[in-house]
Amino acid sequence: MDFEFSDEQELLREQARGFLADNCPPTVVRKVLDGDAEYDAELWQKVAEMGWTATVIPEEFGGLGLSYLELVVIAEELGRAAAPIPFSSSVYLATEALLAVGSQEQKEKWLPLLASGEAIGTFALAEGNGRPSVSNLTTTAAGGLVNGRKIPVADGGIATFAVVVAASDQGDSASLQLVELDQSGVSREAVRTLDFSRGHAAINFNNAKAELLGGEGAGWAAMEGLLDRAAVLFAWEQVGLADAALNQARDYAMGRYAFGRSIASYQAIKHKLAGMYVKNTLARSNCYYGAWALDSDSSELALAAATARVGSIQASVHAAEENVQTHGGMGFTWEFDCQFYYRRAKLLSVNIGSEGYWQDRLITAYEQTNAA
């Protein structure tokens, strides 16, 4: 047993952190936040050149063939930097979907493009308010054509293709459909979310040409398996964000004086930050377990992923909220960067299903583990 990253993985972390400090300073996040672009194309290009988008893609498909332990290190650093790029959509979701259930032909076509960053993939499940279920899916797929509307779709406006969850009249009543988005059967509208530094869209499918991804009538199970894998990767990004928010709160408190002394010397502030540290640490430790379960394809993945996800949602949202609070009025201004974490933490916490959804998944997985 060994519950730490290797020296090589720690070296990768240092490199990633240094790279993002140089190439994704707050000004880069702010440029997307303030502007009309849906992502920072230049940063995306550089990240792809670093090979990050290719991390776990096998070499035969143009990837680096590294493990998930390398990918989670990168995810954490991207979270820390609040990077305004479609990494989670393209790498944690679209790439994982192809790796998990793509045909040889689909892999050969798409994985090299995803690895190089030339293609951006995304994942389309939600159809509006409320928790998606197999019985309330209205998007349909028949005869290689998809019809329906998905909203919100992260990075939907810039993606090359989407993995769409559609209703099926077979098996588990759902299928995954790979839909190229640059076609006449697809129209997209930008959707504003609370995180202005990450683009989202509504996508309308009107007899859009599609290709079945995985088995017909095996889409719901495939989607849940995909979310388990993505949950671990999202969780690492959230833990990176939570750590950054805690550090920002501490640095500000240390330098801010009130009543003649640093506010970091008041127990009201110390206990607040200690609480953030505790949540962050537990979340990180659960993420270790998730990373190992993902990397080793463990039967414990469903439980490990939900545990990592719930812990990291709680830690990151808490850290982002209390970071603003620690900054007082300045934390509430547009000028200060506290908003990056406040926006991103909440966005990530609903992006692939809420805290409540994952709490329920956790107990279901716990029941299955105990019954086994």
């Binding site: 060994d2 970091a264 010397s265 930050l273 537990l282 430790s285 080793s296 719930v310 107990i363 716990y366």
Partner: protein, 403 residues
């Protein structure tokens, strides 16, 4: 990173499991024994076979095992309902302090009997006027030839009534600032002038005590560290205390709450089907799992040569309030019957109610929640201390209150 055993670890686990299977006491064997006798019997059996305090050097009764092997042993031993609980202070706190600050003759004399459970130790730190502000303690020691004469009072001393030895912090110089006037000793609890009075707790039990010292003599050879260095020595004990107490998963845990939630009904359905119940259990599972893996990470760090640091305060800071919340919630699940505390009538033989009643103690003993949060803020996050009114002031001039 690998959560599975490697080949050596698997072999070690198999060896530990086989020994436990052959030697763990059965319920019949323990029937009728009092808890202390049962614990001593099991500890001695482990010691004789080389399974006690396995990380200690062999010459002191240990096995020379590494931190990961300790994790494995703990996992395997936890599969059995074996007696435990009397040796935490001696083995987890006094022993590391002896190892760090004691002389070779201390090690030879005391460590093996700590490992075997033949001698039990207690911790004489807290005083009526020195709890969270431990360094405000007033029990004094005065030099008399090769001895020290001790006068004063300790409080909250768990197990003083069955302990053979105690670790003790006293004031040897009241005319310097409080942290600088302390010294650290250990003593024979049967020494003349030691008087032990039990304190009845709100649970109804009486596991801890007041201990009075009237002209108690301690040889200078039982001093650990230099005169005036008692605070540094005490910190060694306290750091190990937080690691030793830890978060635990014993008593009311997710496993028990899950069992109860399957057995009781809400709106004619098992409570576990209720989304609010599921959310709460999920949160506690996240905490239990997070503490377990945080502990494992700390073990990995120790096996790479790092010493346990202030981050170990997390176990207690999370575990103690969690225990209280879970016990409270389990009583809520039982609805009106949750109030019944009776071995025969209550679910889980009243353990939920017992845990709830004992939980406030867990949040206070070994450093309150608030002190734990201060330790994390100051020693992990590097935040400054609150200004102190007594800073730099001779102890004898520090103001005192009426409580």
């Amino acid at each position: 990173m690998d959560f599975n055993d490697n080949k050596e670890e698997a072999a070690f686990r198999a060896e530990a499991a086989a020994w436990l299977k052959a030697n763990a006491p059965s319920e019949e064997e323990l029937a009728g024994m009092d808890e202390l006798a049962a614990a001593k019997m099991w500890q001695k059996r482990k010691y004789d076979a080389g399974w006690a305090c396995i990380r200690w050097d062999k010459e002191f009764g240990g096995r020379g095992a590494n931190a990961i092997q300790q994790v494995i042993w703990n996992q395997e031993e936890a599969k059995y309902k074996v007696p435990a609980g009397f040796f935490v202070i001696g083995q987890g706190m006094a022993a590391p302090t002896l190892m760090t600050w004691g002389k070779p003759e201390h090690h030879e004399r005391y460590l093996p009997k700590l490992a075997s459970g033949e001698e039990i130790w207690c911790q004489l730190f807290s005083e009526p006027a020195g709890g969270s502000d431990l360094a405000a303690l007033r029990t004094k020691a005065e030099r008399d030839g090769d001895d020290w004469i001790i006068n004063g009072q300790k409080i909250w001393t768990s197990g003083a009534h069955y302990s053979d030895y105690g670790i003790l912090v006293v004031r040897t110089d009241p005319n310097v600032p409080k942290h600088k006037g302390l010294s650290y000793f250990f003593l024979d609890m049967k020494s003349p002038g030691v008087e032990i009075k039990p304190i009845k707790q709100l649970t109804g039990g009486a596991n801890f005590n007041e201990v009075y010292f009237t002209d108690v003599r301690i040889p200078d050879s039982q001093r650990l560290g230099e005169v005036g260095q008692g605070w540094q020595v005490a910190l060694t004990t306290l750091m190990n205390e937080r690691a030793a107490i830890g978060g635990g998963g014993a008593g009311v845990n997710v496993e028990m709450a899950y069992r109860i939630a399957n057995e009781v009904m809400i709106d004619d359905k098992p409570a576990i089907a209720d989304s609010a119940v599921r959310a709460k259990l999920a949160n506690w599972y996240v905490q239990e799992s997070g503490l377990r893996f945080t502990g494992y990470r700390s073990m990995t760090a120790m096996s790479r040569g790092e010493i346990p640091g202030p981050e170990n305060s997390i176990g207690k800071l999370v575990g103690a309030p969690k225990t209280q919340e879970m016990a409270s919630f389990c009583m809520d699940l039982l609805e009106m019957s949750g109030a019944i505390w009776d071995e025969n009538l209550s679910k889980e033989a009243g353990l939920v109610q017992l845990t709830y009643m004992g939980a406030p103690g867990g949040r206070i003993a070994g450093g309150t929640d608030e002190i734990m949060a201060n330790i994390i803020a100051e020693r992990v996050l590097g935040m400054p201390q609150e200004p102190r009114m007594d800073k730099g002031m001779p102890f004898s001039e520090v103001p005192t209150g009426s409580n």
